[in-house]
């Protein structure tokens, strides 16, 4: 399980999980799960499009995720959930069209949707490190404004914080992170990692910084357990990521209820 060909999976997996935990903390805080679900699907369409045209997948992943995030962020004035839903289905439909035009093999489709962590190559580590650091930097810069905006939106606006610019910045960060995570855990399960562990962390502690750290740790632990279980059982890693993320949340809920009963 720790042999050399698995080393890349562990390194990239850990980076991706830490990033998903950090962005997920803000996703749960801001209530933007739907966007966090839609943007990875944009990345999926991008990967399918890149395969059709024959360019590096990363170009398609980043390009389409950014387009999806701009579409969602720009229409914040109207009903944002409708805009998100339409952006999401358009991206998925485009992905389906690209796939059927390029006649991709079914395993490739499944890898994009549900992830293929054991296929991480050494050359893909550098872009992952670069993009992950960029996202981490962006989150660090936006940390205080995002918290302020979530806690007291009106006061934050009065103090000169532009909520639309903040939303845009956050969506772009989500898009970059998604472009990174999709090839590893897949379009559908990037989302599980971004919501389950962070929501659990928020239940366990109320202090923002410790919730952020707990979220990153829980997310990494979920992915580690998933890689190990997938390696042992030969079942897809996406199955474990999805179900374990939900299990982590349910356990946190139960421990919360139990503590309240005792208090």
């Amino acid at each position: 399980m720790f042999s050399s060909f698995m080393a890349n999976a562990w390194i990239v997996g850990t980076l991706v999980a830490l990033l998903a935990g950090a962005t997920g903390f803000f996703v749960v805080l801001r209530g933007s799960s739907f966007a966090a679900h839609a943007i990875p699907n944009g990345a999926f369409a991008g990967a399918a499009g890149a395969a059709l045209v024959g360019v590096t997948p990363l170009v398609g992943l980043v390009g389409f995720a950014v387009v999806a995030s701009l579409g969602i962020g720009a229409s914040r004035r109207h009903r944002s959930d409708v805009a998100t839903a339409i952006a999401l289905v358009m991206m998925l439909a485009l992905g389906a069209a690209f796939l059927s035009l390029s006649a991709a093999y079914e395993p490739q489709v499944e890898a994009l949707l549900f992830g293929e962590i054991l296929g991480v190559s050494t050359t893909s580590i550098l872009p992952v490190v670069v993009i992950a650091s960029l996202c981490a930097l962006a989150l660090a810069v936006m940390y205080r404004p995002l918290l302020f905006n979530a806690a007291a939106p009106d006061l934050a606006t009065v103090r000169g914080l532009d909520p639309r610019r903040l939303e845009m910045g956050f969506m772009l960060t989500l898009a970059l992170g998604a472009a990174l995570t999709v090839p590893v855990v897949g379009a559908l399960l990037t989302f599980s990692l971004t919501v389950g562990p962070p929501a659990a962390a928020r239940l366990v502690t109320r202090r923002p910084l410790s919730a952020l750290v707990a979220s990153m740790f829980l997310s990494a632990a979920t992915l580690w357990a998933s890689i190990a279980a997938s390696y042992q059982s030969n079942l897809p890693v996406g199955f474990f990521v999805g179900t374990l993320s939900a299990v982590v949340y349910v356990l946190a809920r139960l421990s919360c209820a139990w503590r309240r009963r005792r208090a």
Partner: protein, 291 residues
């Protein structure tokens, strides 16, 4: 002219059945979806489609009826969302997310096992993206019957649903059981989404649930007119999408037709763009008339 409108299209039985089912499903989705848009429940509506996918894949794996799998999966998902808690908006967001995440994990497992155990290919894509043209005549009858049940139930919910959607506080003051109406509506939405997910795939299901009603609401705010408009726009998108998909066979020398799902979604997006342009022009005319 055949690249624009292939004359033989309606003589094909699969195309006729597929279009018929598509129009029925589009009409039910539009009626139910209008309330989804007004209640800002798009995320739940979409999540139920993905949960239904897990149910459909599970049914495929264990050999149950796929329609049952889709509808039951979706109903279970709606129940789980309610159990986690949907009182406050932000909590609703997380509850939906957790159920959606867990369900996609299950889909991943089921679809993997299906491809492992059978020599058939393409089941992942047909479950996720659907195919209108593979609907059989017998399921057409069943789907139409279930659609009728949904429409009757929606009519029975009627005014309390409208009141709780537009103004929950006023509804509570009038003694409407807001929680119970919300639960009933979510279950109704689950059945609708399960129905449409099996026919046209989870992707298209969201497009038909949200797109036509959102477009109709841009044109006017009166309930009756919006309902009719949403149904017309939904049916139109399906028919136009089917024709485009059928004709796209002639668009490239490689003769690879575009998927129906893609064509229908594109039509829905075109409708949204056109209606929002119309709404903007009407808004500008109003403003200049007042000045």
């Amino acid at each position: 002219m055949h690249w624009l409108f292939e004359p033989g299209i309606w003589s094909n039985a699969a195309v006729r059945t597929g279009t018929g089912v598509g129009v029925v499903v589009a009409a039910v989705s539009a009626l139910v979806g209008l309330f989804t848009v007004v209640r800002s429940q798009s995320f739940a509506g979409h999540a139920l489609a993905d949960v239904a996918t897990a149910g459909g894949a599970g049914a495929g794996l264990f050999g149950f009826s796929p329609l049952g799998g889709f509808v039951i999966g979706s109903l279970l998902g709606a129940g789980a969302m309610e159990a986690i808690g949907v009182e406050r908006v932000r909590q609703r967001d997380v509850a939906t997310g957790i159920v959606l995440g867990g369900a996609t994990g299950l889909s991943a497992l089921f679809l993997y096992l299906i491809t492992l155990n059978s020599s058939r290919t393409g089941s992942t894509q047909s479950i996720l993206f659907g195919s209108l043209f593979s609907v059989s005549n017998s399921s057409f009858v069943l789907i139409s019957a279930l659609s009728l049940v949904v429409i009757l139930a929606l009519g029975a919910l009627g005014r309390p649903l409208l009141l709780t959607s537009v103004s929950p506080d006023a509804a509570r003051a009038r003694g409407v059981a807001v929680r119970r109406v919300a639960l009933a509506y979510t279950l109704l939405m689950a059945v609708t989404v399960g129905l449409s997910a099996i026919v046209i795939g989870s992707v298209l299901s969201t497009a038909l649930l949200i797109g036509p009603p959102a477009a109709a609401l841009r044109l006017g705010r009166r309930l009756g007119a919006s309902l009719v408009m949403a149904v017309v726009l939904g049916a139109l998108a399906v028919v136009a999408g089917v024709v485009a998909s059928y004709d796209s066979y002639y668009w490239w020398p490689s003769h690879r037709a575009l998927p129906v799902s893609f064509c229908v979604v594109t039509m829905v997006v075109v409708e949204l763009i056109v209606t929002s342009a119309l709404a903007r022009r009407a808004g500008a005319r109003d403003a200049s008339g007042r000045a």
